[in-house]
Symmetry: D3
Subunit: 187 residues, 6 copies
């Protein structure tokens, strides 16, 4: 599993959560975690409860994860991995003295919503999107949101560092779980 | 899924991680998280790398989780759930101003190891054990360990409160994941 | 898993068997069995052998079942559940002195076909449709059909009672199977 | 999948539900349903709730089913098949004017328990036992039981006919389900 | 599982790899291996790396395999079966003194590419296409290809014999694997 | 997945096919293919049809494969991998001008049996044993066997070369299959 941070400020519009996006658009083959900083405006919402909502923001840090290890793809496993990704982000923020509260797959600073996230699966691919507001600009008016810069002054390099650490720790976590599987007595 | 906290100071000797222990010994049917405070001395170690080690402690808070939802039982899913359980404990400790560092399924206070944990699976049952040192007494001499009381003064009620909160949040997390599955577009 | 009986006389046109229909159209989240009385005229047939047939009726009792427990969705398990649903309907009819013969997923009164049924699966959702003719009016001319009222005089309340009993027994059956899983020695 | 009815009056003692019993003891390879008439006295009970009970009878019709199609073996699917087997027996008894009531995997004539049943799974094999009392002799005193001969006078040939019909219909049901899978649109 | 060799010189355009093609177009129900001789010109390429390539040939022997046994369909298993199919073709060619080299799912005679192949899966169906060049005519100019007739003079009957042998051996291989499953101790 | 060739002339007695043997006896963690040259005398036969047979030989090349990728372990997938391993050995022998015939998981030189093989699975581990006779000495008298040295004069280095090539090609094959999964359109 590889991590690649994109320099381009791509708009997250929901197409990036489709299977094999990394291969088709970025020529990155195999399991991956792709990160970048950019706006969000989702046209095609896959959470049925949110399907008439506006989901948008001016500047976010985005994570797109794709796994192919469990065949066929398992949405239950994928949502467990989503939670682990969100909790690794929470750990990383704590280490930068940015305490957050978690409810399911959402992180909050105080009462402000910091993140959006969803997981999905197709026949052979499991995907996760996690987006963290860098500022609260451009977010929907009917939701109280917060950006990481609203809490603490950070340079873009600091943010990229946080994003990269999260990606690396996530990759290592999945690797360690696979290692644990190989050394456990079962049955 | 139910939580039950046992008053008895049961010795965790590794038999509690066998399938259907809660049903056979406690008459608790179905998925459950059983907690208690008691010593540990494992005879029958299921982590092959640790199989010649002493794993013991005088006083720990124990969690035993059993799931039957994924059939057949899936050790990969079970290790993901173990990570989520450990991270929920970490969150709860943070809220009590007890900051820990996590490496895989281990929590540390400073350089002292606070927890032990393992997951396993049989044909139809997935199980997790998580034990948190209350004191470092009685732990193996060749490992630097720490008990939660070494860091902060807490009454037994406080510890039971922490344990119960972790159990409740874990049950809620699994429930929320199942709910997320039912409202996600796939394919 | 919940049961809801709809008052509206919805046309069953095949769209109701799509994943998450209950959530999207009725705002019912999670596993469910939705029942109602209404006509049928299927545009979009998912049984490839029947794809050029007319499948219609003027008045039927409809059951739509959706499960999310087995991830990924398993069409084999779903067809087993369909058989169980059909056989529970058969049991309920027997108790109302309406004896039927079963062939696979079809019930017959004498030589008249009483029911239509199909199961399907998407990546994360398993669905069943079962429809029972209340009258034989409006059914295709090339098939010998029978309505439950052709055999026995029943009020609409009686029919709703039968439908509700079947739904409740089905929910209980699935619950009992899950309970059986948790108390069985395996391996 | 084949059916074989044994002439020998084998004691059902619980060993027959172990994986590959038909191959090891009878040299019958592959998926099978083995039937015979004989006593029951279970030493090794796999239902944890019944583990201290006496489970015995002097004369029963026994069915032992083994499947290998779903890999790895799935206890959930196996319990669905058990229900289908029990319901096929119920259908067959109805056709012989022996009406029964079903509760989960148990059939009753009036308030008398007619059958015992359990399903289990190992890594690669799914197994079902279903036993129907021919007489109530030799059954535990603390349970109200009934034998099929207590309700209706039948010769041994009639009973073997019933048993064989159930076995054949079960095999056909599983075959039809597999056929249904191959002609269903999914996704 | 059945084999059917078609007399018609159908164009392989990629639609034949869709689920249930054999049922919908040929009225062949259940698991099957369909073979024929005909041209190829794929419009709808399912290997993302090849998606802008021309994949075509004037005369090929085609194999289309469909399995429904593993539910839900498993792309990993399907690619294992594809390799087995390709290796059975390699064995058959060796027996006709046509030595080939294999790289993954491709066979070569010397440096000329003899075959194209892909596997895919939908929710309930696993499919494989394998095409072997009979001549190298009409193949893309940027790839060095070879036809079986470029290496050895064979009549159409000989080719149909090779194709039929491969189909029969593949069916037998899958059957033997299922048999091996039923006689293996596990756990 | 790693390959390790052992210098020691270990007796293959059937214990090596147990889960986690490589970890417990050789301290090799994770998926692996372990090879060595040594005698065979199996005490504990896991093919039920062979359970009363003598399975022994004086000098064989042994392969022990262990996979943990599919969770839970799948015996069907494992037997497909066994076939692929046997066919890769066949390919390698062809390249050394040692033509063999294959029947299921057995290779023959003429009418002499060259290999023995079995696959099995536990809850979390899939294992394969493949043994190739180097000489026919010490093999059971009631089976016609052949050793590779009976057909062609080879030094021990040549044999180790063959064994290592097979191991490397097998590892690459599994890797390529995983790569193919990540670039295939499904659904």
């Amino acid at each position: 599993m590889i991590h690649e941070h994109l320099k381009d400020r791509i708009l997250y519009d929901g197409t990036q959560i489709r299977p094999n996006w990394a291969l088709n658009e970025l020529n990155i083959k195999g399991p991956s975690i792709i990160t970048w900083i950019g706006p969000m405006n989702i046209k095609d919402i896959i959470d049925y409860e949110d399907k008439n909502l506006e989901i948008k923001a001016e500047k976010m840090a985005h994570f797109i994860v794709e796994h192919f290890d469990e065949q066929p793809a398992n949405l239950r496993l994928c949502y467990h991995r989503q939670r682990i990704l969100v909790m690794i982000l929470q750990e990383e923020l704590w280490e930068h003295d940015i305490p957050t509260k978690r409810e399911g797959d959402d992180l909050y600073i105080g009462t402000g919503k910091l993140t959006v996230s969803v997981a999905t699966a197709a026949v052979s691919s499991m995907k996760i999107h996690l987006g963290m507001n860098i500022t609260s600009k451009g977010t929907p008016e009917d939701v109280e949101t917060v950006g990481i810069l609203d809490y603490k002054s950070l340079g873009e390099d600091d943010i990229i560092k946080i994003v990269s650490n999260v990606a690396k720790k996530y990759i290592q976590e999945i690797r360690l779980i696979e290692e644990d599987i190989t050394k456990t007595r079962t049955g």
